[in-house]
Amino acid sequence: MSHGARDEAAARLSRRRLRGAPGSRALVIVVLLLIAFFSAISGKPLDGLLMLLVAAALGWDARAAAEPAGTAQAGAAQAVANASQADRPALLRGSAWLLGGAVFAVLAGSFTRFSWPATATVVSVGAAAVLTGWRRPARRPPPGPLPRAGVVAWGAVLAAGGLWELWSLLQQSSLTATSYAHPTLSALTDPVLATAPGRALVLAGWLLLGGYLVRR
């Protein structure tokens, strides 16, 4: 095999690793389509549309023309650069992010739920995080092999949570009417989210979780 062919094969492997195995990608797309469908029929068309867009983008990405060679290497170089930047004024940057997040949480929390201002702020932050994740390679080195039983246990707990929520949703008299007898998480959190401080606290937690995920 010539050097050119070897380089091309290595680049293909890098791109495949970057995008993910076809099976896992198909699974994610199917889950996103299911979320889009259930969101749309339960009175959340915007949620559904956004999930649909991301599913379409992932599908398009799978079929897209080859990325420029060296993306993975560039990602590794970026990770190294990020690590070195972390030594600089990390405390200052962290404080600025925390302050900005707190201001966002209080501001967005002051808006009525499901209003256009609340929608705009949450959609903006969510879209920015997803775009960041799309464009940037993983920052942390992959962990070693994980024990299968433990991974299955985590998967089972997360799946159980999703199924329990879905079961509660389907027990409602309609998909858009909450039920006291079978409350969904949305119904259970309604009292907290009815107040501006409650919304600000929940939004702060949501932002912290998002920051944790974006940094991984």
């Binding site: 995008r19 949620d47 956004l50 991984r216």
Partner: protein, 66 residues
């Protein structure tokens, strides 16, 4: 115990199970990875990263957006 209590109990059991897994991962020698390690593994690829971030974004949309 009525249906409401049973439903809430279900959520609490699932939350407790997640907490127990987290404790097992951090403080015991059980073969349970930390959730962060599982996320790192999932987020190695663009699809995984986008999938996890979309799930997070969906939570915000679901609770606050129209």
């Amino acid at each position: 115990m009525n249906s409401h209590d049973l439903t809430v109990l279900g959520y609490l059991v699932i939350l407790l199970a997640a907490g127990l897994l987290a404790v097992a991962a951090r403080w015991t020698r059980a073969p349970v990875p930390a959730l962060g390690d599982v996320l790192d593994r999932i987020m190695r690829t663009r699809t995984g990263r986008v999938g996890v971030l979309v799930a997070w974004a969906w939570i915000g949309l679901h609770f606050f957006a129209r």
